[in-house]
């Protein structure tokens, strides 16, 4: 089954801070998440998090999403978009 997804207004503001290429990657991730297998449909909790990593040049970019699932309306609501960038010289 396929869910649709939407952003809360504050999450959209966070999303708009992303560079366009990373914003596109984020939407692609959401579209993948939106195709929910029946097993996952039963298993997923209402609130879940999803993260992914991309490497661009010398930087590693981490994106973190908090998502609320509305089973009844088959919607994923993106609540927060967090990011962290680690450069080669920023080893913790």
């Amino acid at each position: 089954m396929t869910y649709s997804y939407e952003f809360t207004e504050p999450a959209l503001k966070q999303f708009q801070q992303l560079e366009p290429w990373l914003a596109e990657e984020t939407l692609d991730e959401l579209e993948t998440l939106a195709v929910v297998s029946p097993t996952a449909h039963r298993r997923l909790t209402n609130r879940f998090v999803h993260d992914f990593v991309r490497i661009r040049g010398a930087s590693t970019l981490y994106v973190f999403l908090t998502i609320v699932r509305d089973r009844a309306n088959q919607k994923l609501r993106v609540m927060d978009v967090g990011t962290y960038v680690r450069g080669v010289s920023d080893e913790p």
């Binding site: 649709s4 997804y5 939407e6 952003f7 809360t8 207004e9 504050p10 999450a11 959209l12 966070q14 999303f15 366009p20 914003a23 596109e24 939407l27 959401l30 579209e31 939106a34 909790t45 209402n46 609130r47 879940f48 998090v49 993260d51 990593v53 590693t60 981490y62 994106v63 973190f64 908090t66 609320v68 699932r69 509305d70 609501r77 609540m79 927060d80 978009v81 967090g82 990011t83 962290y84 680690r86 080893e91 913790p92």
Partner: protein, 140 residues
């Protein structure tokens, strides 16, 4: 979390490199397990009604993630220094990823979270199609 004094003792141990590498890998593994526990607790404390935001619980969980991130930053610094001399350590890539994910999580403030739940309750949301369209116009 393993006490930093014990961590330092592992790194200053002048035993065989192989033995030290094994001990360091165990420290990385322990940190990953700690994070998994914090994440489980975070899931367990999430309100039954996903539209409700519990600021008190979110604040306590945030402190846990912050404590873990501060500890792991120190640990990774030591591990990376160790690995530069002694070669790769199992589990370190995973720990770097977990650290990055947690820092990304912590980039979201409690106020941001609360505002987002309020927006959800008030129906202030924007569809994915609209967001995709706006992004397309921004890029092209």
């Amino acid at each position: 979390m393993v006490a930093m004094s014990l961590v330092d003792s592992v790194f200053s141990n002048v035993g065989s490199a192989e033995r030290s590498t094994r001990a360091v890998a165990l420290l990385a593994q322990a940190a990953l397990k700690d994070l998994a526990q914090i994440e489980k607790l975070d899931d367990a404390l999430a309100p039954d009604d996903p539209a409700q935001f519990d600021r008190g619980a979110a604040s306590l969980m945030r402190s846990e993630f912050e404590r873990w991130a501060a500890y792991t930053a120190s640990l990774l610094e030591r591990i990376d220094r160790f690995a530069a001399i002694n070669g790769p350590v199992a589990g370190v890539k995973l720990l770097h990823r977990a650290y990055g994910k947690t820092r990304a999580r912590l980039s979201i403030s409690l106020d941001d979270m609360e505002q987002s739940y309020r927006a959800l309750a008030e129906g202030r949301t924007v569809s994915g199609e609209e967001v995709r369209r706006d992004l397309f116009l921004r890029v092209h």
